[in-house]
């Protein structure tokens, strides 16, 4: 097939899929298909992508509350989460059982029955959702009526009100079983319970204890290590151990911890342990998915050590001159955050981070997507000739690789709509910068399966030179005592970053970008991210959303290498 025909076939096939063929174009497409077997194979494979996506995702946004509830119940931890085909097969289960009325039952595959969803009485409603997403990927819809069952919230914050007037603020990741309007069972995560004035009696069970409201507002958490906590914000509750016959009444300002063995122990009250209020919806939020941050930092200061660095997860010897904190947008700022530091000497780049994470160090993701299971990614330039801001982009790298106009849709939409604009953009972003070995992406994560730190390196905006755990680096992780965060500490030889001969030195201003990823409890699915240390200067790429800043060098912030004499101030 000639290139011209190939381009025409591609355009016509896309038009056919989109239902956008103009008069006469269907005939053009048919002529091409009849003329060439290659064309038919291209068409079939292209249409099969369309069909595959439609199959995999059909019904992913069922509008009926009852149906959504039915899907949510299927995510109960006591039930094996069904694969897509199994979910489909479940819909067929009705026809199998009622095979005597086969015609009607089979039709129900495409028009799912609401009978099962209506079997249990409704007693709660989702009143508000902020980035709420169920474990099967469905968005939490406000107004959804809930019946008894387990609700597996993968991300976000969801406010539920029961018919008794009790308000439950559920913070993901969380698994909450609603038993009735005054009774819930928390299997994981955080929930804040607020009773209407003059009412009491809501009960929250955890695996280790039972908390009974005595007219109050209180939070209950079940950590990933199995420990439960109850904290009273207002009024009074009674906490009863389920394994050990020990019961206590708690007043406002008190916190009680229940260990996995059932022992109750008082603990310091921490206001920020729970999210108590649903934040007002912000207008003009940048799209970025749950837990997203708004970048406040335009630079990271990289200090010289003032004492020998021991890579053990204890940062007490670190020079904190360049320490920074970045957190996700409210109300997640106290749960999902990073406190980062970088240091340098003649041999190493040092990176440390204390990360707030309710599911710490559980990364089970593999290969190129291992960042998604929970990670810190620090991107740096190590070639001072590249200066700041960087000019390289993955778009330029990709354009060269494909020798065509395969361009990131978002970038095109935001900055270039004409050929002239594209040519100018290409001129502004030299190819050599985009492919440079002096651009490093340093992916730091904890391999939960191997139970050891992991380092993945890749270079340039084309992500070449991928290296996993190259010899010579050191890393250590340490989990927070309360199981809601971790600290990482790394020393990476400059030679691994291609600048052993001429490493950065005091006074250099290069480029850097920090990203943090949080995962689900299984450590496989990315639930949200944070992006910081970015270029705040207005420029033509400012409309690019933060989650693709890493593709675009001009969006990276400054890495300022502090002189020795100014460290430790």
């Amino acid at each position: 097939m000639k290139t011209r025909d190939s381009d025409q076939l591609r355009a016509l096939t896309e038009g056919y899929v989109s239902g956008e063929l103009a008069v006469g174009q269907l005939e053009e497409l048919e002529a091409l298909l009849l003329a060439s077997k290659d064309a038919r194979l291209f068409f079939l494979t292209f249409l099969d992508i369309h069909a595959g996506l439609a199959w995999e995702l059909r019904g992913a946004d069922l509008p009926l509350p009852d149906l959504q509830h039915e899907a949510m119940v299927s995510c109960a931890p006591s039930v094996i989460r069904p694969a897509r085909w199994a979910a489909m097969a479940r819909r067929w289960a009705l026809p199998v059982a009622a095979v005597v009325v086969g015609l009607i039952a089979i039709a129900s595959f495409w028009q799912p029955t609401r009978q099962s969803a209506n079997a249990a009485p409704a007693f709660a409603t989702v009143k508000a959702s902020l980035h709420g997403q169920w474990a099967d990927g469905r968005e939490v819809a406000t107004g959804v009526v809930l019946r008894s069952g387990v609700f597996d919230l993968q991300s976000g914050l969801v406010e539920i009100e029961t018919v008794s007037g009790t308000v439950l603020l559920v913070e993901a990741p969380a698994k909450l079983e609603l038993l009735d309007s005054l009774h819930g069972r928390l299997l994981g995560g955080n929930v804040v319970v607020r009773m209407p004035k003059g009412k009491s009696g809501f009960v929250v069970e955890t695996p280790q204890m039972q908390v009974t409201d005595l007219g109050t507002e209180f939070g209950v958490s079940v950590a990933s290590n199995g420990e439960s906590r109850v904290q009273v914000f207002d009024g009074k509750v009674r906490a009863q151990g389920r394994r050990i016959n020990d019961g206590r009444e708690l007043l406002a300002g008190q916190t009680l911890r229940c260990t996995t063995t059932g022992t109750l122990a008082t603990e310091k009250f921490s206001e920020s342990r729970f999210i108590r209020y649903f934040p007002p919806r912000q207008t003009g939020e940048q799209p970025g998915g749950p837990l997203f941050s708004r970048s406040d930092l335009d630079s990271v200061r990289i200090a010289a050590p003032t004492a020998p660095v021991v890579i053990d997860g204890d940062l007490s010897e670190w020079n904190r001159a360049g320490e920074f904190r970045s957190s996700c947008l409210p109300p997640y700022q106290d749960t999902y955050f990073v406190e980062g530091m970088m240091m340098y000497d003649a041999q190493h780049l040092y990176i440390s981070a204390h990360v707030g994470d309710p599911e710490p160090m559980c990364n089970a993701a593999r290969d190129e997507v291992d960042f998604a299971g929970g990670s810190v990614i620090v991107r740096v330039s190590t070639d001072r000739k590249l200066g700041w801001p960087l000019k390289g982009t993955s778009w330029r790298a990709m354009t060269t690789e494909t020798e065509g106009r395969t361009l990131p849709g978002v970038l095109i939409d935001q900055v270039a709509r004409t050929d002239a604009e594209l040519r100018q953009l290409a001129a502004d972003m030299p190819l050599a910068d985009s492919l440079s070995d002096g651009i490093a992406s340093i992916i730091l994560s904890y391999d939960a399966q191997a139970q050891q730190p992991r380092l993945r390196l890749l270079f340039g905006f084309d992500s070449h030179g991928v290296t996993l755990n190259p010899p010579g680096w050191q890393g250590a992780f340490r989990k927070d005592a309360d199981g809601r965060g971790y600290t990482l500490e790394y020393a990476i030889p400059w030679r691994l970053l291609h600048c052993a001969e001429d490493p950065p030195h005091a006074g250099d201003v290069m480029s850097a970008l920090w990203m943090v990823h949080w995962s689900d409890a299984e450590g496989r699915l990315c639930r949200g991210q944070l992006v910081d240390v970015t270029n705040h200067e207005p420029h033509r790429l400012s409309a690019v959303p933060p989650y693709i800043f890493f593709h675009n060098g001009p969006c990276w912030g400054k890495a300022i290498y502090l002189p020795q004499e100014k460290t430790g101030n």
């Binding site: 239902g19 038919r40 079939l44 089979i106 978002v410």
Partner: protein, 176 residues
């Protein structure tokens, strides 16, 4: 001798096992998802009504089901001849023949789709979910903060990337 109920259960099991193949077959010939879903429903009803005629000795269930689905496409084309959105019978037949000549290739493509989906950016995956998640693009567009045209444009780019990725994956020996 098996009871009628056992046979019916086995028949439904065959339907379950082959529903994806039928759906994808139909969506190749009728690109509109709503039209294809209607045709799947009609095909299922026909299959059920004709279940007594199905003889496993005579051939694969999938081939029989797709042949019945093809009949429904013919009927659909006749009904929709004024709209003219579906390929002619001659082209459809040549596509079916080509498909039959390369069953392994298309299976490989099918298996590689999930692998390549994972290689999309989170933003691209969210666009795919928006556009294929059960709503029409014109309905999904306002919530995504984009115009329908912008969404189509991004989707076009994503489908092209997936095609390129699958092609490469299959050439390199598959996703696994």
């Amino acid at each position: 001798m098996r009871s009628a109920e056992q046979s019916d259960e086995q028949f439904v099991a065959l339907l379950v096992a082959n529903q994806q193949r039928v759906y994808r077959f139909l969506l190749t010939l009728v690109p509109s998802r709503s039209d294809a879903e209607d045709l799947v429903q009609q095909t299922c009803l026909t299959l059920w009504q004709s279940r007594a005629k199905f003889d496993p000795e005579m051939g694969e269930f999938a081939s029989w089901a797709c042949a019945i689905a093809h009949n429904h496409v013919r009927n659909f084309r006749r009904r929709e001849r004024t709209r003219r959105t579906v390929l002619s019978e001659e082209v459809a037949q040549s596509l079916i023949t080509t498909r039959a000549e390369h069953p392994a290739l298309l299976d490989e493509w099918r298996q590689s789709l999930a692998h390549c989906m994972e290689r999309l950016t989170p933003h691209q995956r969210s666009v795919v979910h928006e556009c294929y998640g059960g709503r029409a693009i014109k309905d999904a567009a306002p919530e995504s903060g984009r115009s329908p045209n912008a969404l189509y444009k991004i989707l076009r780019h994503i489908r092209a990337r997936l095609h390129e990725c699958i092609q490469k994956t299959v050439a390199e020996g598959g996703a696994s």
